[in-house]
Amino acid sequence: MMERLATWCRLKSPWILHINAGGCNGCDIEILAALTPRYDVERFGILLKPSPRHADVMVIAGVMTRQIAERVKRVYEQMPEPKFVLAVGACALTGGVFQNCYGQAMRVDQIIPVDVYVPGCPPKPEAIIDGVVKLLEKAKGGAPADEGRRE
């Protein structure tokens, strides 16, 4: 009972934490644009939170640079359970044009488990909202599905 209530609450207001793991800002600007009047995701109760301890969803964009990989992991560990990760943009998914650069450490899903992947370079704010909607559908299913998750 309490659990269902908690899930319901979570779905009604997923608070997100936005992290740039060293991208070109394109995706970050679009994530930010999703919060501004034209798209206004706050109408779904989605709030951008500056602290990982308040957040349910981590929105991560950018290539994992060597400098930032360890820090991303640390931030992820600080988020309370259950936590979800939304990877935005080609860089976060695989590295995009930066594949095989010496500054790129690895893909995001090699460091932390990713729930929903949003391809695009950069994806439209609508596509990011679409990703959030798919993430919420997944979260509604109770326990996070194992698909796409790595240990």
Binding site: T65, R66, Q67, N100, C101, Y102, G103
Partner: protein, 154 residues
């Protein structure tokens, strides 16, 4: 101070300042001039450029040319409206050159970047430590040298 002029007359003007110190002068395109000087003379050339309003360091490029490392100082001359590349080569075995950061203070970060990526030592550079490379990057490995290859190419 000179008014805006063609590249050829600009090179003539530079030659009258620097004489034989210019080993080679080329026109790269409209408002683009490249001169080659011996290492050590690059500071004198930069002093001479100040007469043309050349106080803006656009950037410093270091290039691994095999035996030598070539350094290009790209200076924009405000009055002459000319981008001058001062090129000089230093041996790869002992890549040491005098800094120009006392002549143009804005070149500190460019020199620090070239030191990181190509292992050029700038004598008298006030900035210490790494600028762009990660903290866990091995000491003495310079990624922009041609003999360094990323893992996937090895």
């Amino acid at each position: 101070m000179r008014a805006e002029g063609s590249e050829g007359s600009f090179i003539e003007g530079l030659r009258s300042e620097l004489g034989d110190r210019i080993l080679e002068a080329r026109v790269l395109g409209p408002r683009r001039v490249a001169i080659s000087v011996k290492p050590g003379d690059h500071r004198i050339a930069m002093e001479a450029l100040k007469k043309f309003g050349g106080s803006h360091m656009s950037t410093i490029t270091g290039t691994d040319m095999g035996e030598a490392i070539e350094i290009s100082y790209h200076v924009w001359c405000y009055q002459a409206k000319m981008e001058v590349s001062i090129r000089t080569g230093i041996p790869k075995s002992s890549p040491i050159i005098e800094t120009v950061s006392d002549l143009i203070p804005g070149s500190v970060l460019y020199e620090a970047e070239a030191r990181d990526l190509l292992g050029i030592e700038f004598k008298g550079l006030p900035y210490e430590g790494r600028l762009v490379l990660p903290e866990d990057w091995p000491e003495g490995v310079c990624p922009l040298r041609k003999d360094w290859k990323p893992d996937w190419l090895k």
